[in-house]
Amino acid sequence: MKIESVRELHKLKAAGEKLLFPGSIRIQVGASRCGLARGAQEVIAAFEKELKAQQLDGIVIPVGCIGMCYEEPLVEILLPGKPKLTYGSITADLVPSLVKSLAKGKPQKKNLLYRTNEEILAINGKAFTYASKTPAEVKTAPVAEDAAFFKTQQRIAMRNAGLINPLSIEEYVARGGYAALLKAVTKMKPEEIIETITRANLRGRGGGGFPTGQKWQACREAHGRQKYVLCNCSEGDPGIGMHKSIIESDPHGIVEGIIIGGYAIGAQEGYIYLHHGNEGAKEKLTRAIEQAYEYGLLGENIFGSGFNFSLTLKEGAGSYVCGESTALMATLEGRAGEPRPKYIHTAEKGLWDGPTSLNNVETWFNVPPIIMRGAGWYSAIGTKKSTGTKVISISGNINKPCLVEVPMGMTIKDIISKLGGGLPAGSSLKAFQLGGPPAGILPAKDAGIALGFDELSAAGSLLGSGGLIVMDEKTCMVDMAKYFLAFLEEESCGRCVPCREGVKRMREVVEGISTAIGTEEDIALLHELAECLSEASLCDLGKSAPQVVVSTLRHFMDEYQAHIVKQVCPAKRCSM
């Protein structure tokens, strides 16, 4: 069935609403990467078994990740006419008693985290109601907006994460999906879309923070027979899987964003580059693209507007450097994933020498809501120079490792304490790092810094991908520097001398310091190497590789000195 009008989209929406509110019990189990690791598969099986045993009419749906990784397996229960109830840490053995309480019509209070009566959809600002009345037995549970986890968040990119069945296009449409695409291709001119994105001041979420509107404009104006839009989902940072998690939870969100981008730029072909080894994201994205083709949202004459667009999922072999734009394009072309000099911009000559716009997963997710709600709405969120929200993955020495989306301008301290639940008892914040291996490590005294592209760059770090790693005083900074250098040495493509040879030598010098054979001269040598690498490397991997050493040298010089002069590791990490 092809959708060509508002009415047909509404039909799909009605079908989706029927799936979301089936008139019987609907149980949603978080079955993203984090959920599966905590036993979501067994929980799903237990629910199915228990529903059958207690002869209850209901369905069990595996959904994506809400972000509360510490409460997985997370279960949401929709009873007809009642607010949605969210339960945390439901293991398979807790399922029978929960289903029993449902059978009685009195959902249990144990493990109940919060209830949702109504939510405002980020895509269009309209209310989405589960139930207007709240039964007495769950009145004590906080409503979602007041629950500690959601209070400080504003979810735009993660608007559907963990709330819909990622394999169902109907449910995505029921929550306002593809309306932005309809609006874009039927009511807006490509120039208008670019202007909206420019006025919203959407900046690239991949790390650079380059204004997306400007990028699109350059690509639209460039001459080329065939133009391309690409989505970068090569997420190689150690311990971070946020983009895959969002894609796994809401694959249609990205498909819609890319189609709108393609229309704005004048491209007819799009590619999503996915890091190898993400079966969940691959499966869901493949299905989403198939469905979009099936409903005529991809292919020829989209919404009867005469605009044609094709989208292909490409899986890369999974090298870290393939996240670099030119290396990513080389991989798509079938060559080895090595960067090339960017003296001619990829907006003019990118993939197969055609004008190309490469954007990050999160950037694409932000496009449909901006189109629906306008630039003014978006630019009012966050700070003046960094508008909107940012998805942050919190990990390290923290009570509640999780995936959250907060407005720009929030301080790191707040993110750690309000969303991450602070550090475990008995330990205190020593340092944190945001933005993956190439970003600098900042000390605890900088935790008051506000989330923003320029703020973090000025402090010598990066907003980057938004992976926040929290370190307590048991972390040795020399050891951290060594770890990240070893990672980058392993991931360097080996094309240019400064990166290939320099990172290796830097790692050797830092390793020497951590094994008590370092000398005073090593500090100067590290600075010299850092200067050379950051200026002369070919791509950003080599250019930013010394950041971790430079920042730790700046903020934790006493630790380096302790290793070199006293030959002790203050954090007792390094074996000396």
Binding site: P341, G494, V497, E501, R505, V509, E535, L538
Partner: protein
């Protein structure tokens, strides 16, 4: 022709030139290891870095592949640039301490002994051999294998490079002189079944290549694979049947 400022001197240079070409034309020496006048710039060794200024914005770029632009200001030998070049040579001298070209640069820049643990690689991974083979000769016989610090140049799957024409361009361009080639006059080939073929062959050891000399299509005599280096130096394209006839018959 476009006007640029080269080390403080205003000149006009060919609009298709790179900074390196323009500078060498103007008699300014810029060190480099991975560039060749007849080939496009690679930007691998980073030794040819220069400082460019455009619209008030200063950047460090590799001169071998940066095209000249109207109004560009280029500084080729500032202290910063010299420090970068020195560090690059120190890094290469650590990797390949016995390569003559590196030793010469090191002596010139005053590096007595690199401060890192020395290795003993013959190849400096400049990439010129792979580049000349694919871009100019068009044989695509050799390639890079591995990545990062484990990278090396090899024939595909480490076997005998099947597409090698034996021209020896890789040997000629190698700045580290680490590719070895020889001709053997009466080399025996044992064909399965007991037969023997005796004749001159060309060997390129690095790529496991052993090519019996072809017979010239004009005079019919065996001849060594001709070298395309003269044509490359003159900036002329390689004729399609270049490897089919011997040097005498081609003229």
């Amino acid at each position: 022709m476009v006007p640029i400022t080269l080390d403080g001197t205003k000149t006009k240079v060919d609009s298709k030139a790179t900074i390196l070409q323009a500078a060498r034309e103007a008699g300014i020496a810029i060190p480099s290891l991975c560039s060749h006048p007849g080939l496009s710039g690679l930007g691998n060794c980073r030794l040819c870095v220069v400082e460019v200024e455009k619209n008030g914005r200063k950047r460090i770029v590799t001169s071998c592949n940066y095209p000249v632009e109207d109004g560009l200001t280029v500084t080729t030998g500032s202290q910063k640039i010299r420090a970068i070049r020195k560090m690059i040579i120190e890094l290469l001298a650590t990797r390949s301490p016995h390569v003559k070209a590196i030793r010469e640069y090191a002596a010139e820049m005053g590096i007595e002994k690199p401060r890192f643990t020395r290795g003993n690689d013959k190849c400096i991974l400049c990439g010129l051999c792979v580049h000349v083979c694919s871009e100019y000769v068009g044989a695509h016989a050799i390639t890079f294998s591995g990545h990062g610090t484990q990278k090396f140049v090899s024939s595909p799957l480490y076997r005998s490079a099947a597409d090698c024409v034996g021209c020896g361009a890789c040997v000629a361009v190698c700045p580290a002189q680490c590719i070895t080639m020889e001709d053997r006059a009466d080399s025996k080939t044992f064909v399965p079944g007991g037969a023997e073929e005796v004749g001159p062959v060309r060997l390129i050891h690095n790529w496991n290549v052993r090519l019996p000399w072809k017979r010239c299509k004009t005079c019919g005599k065996p001849f060594p694979p001709p070298s395309p280096m003269d044509l490359l130096e003159q900036g002329k394209p390689l004729p399609g049947d270049f490897f089919a006839s011997c040097d005498n018959c081609r003229k």
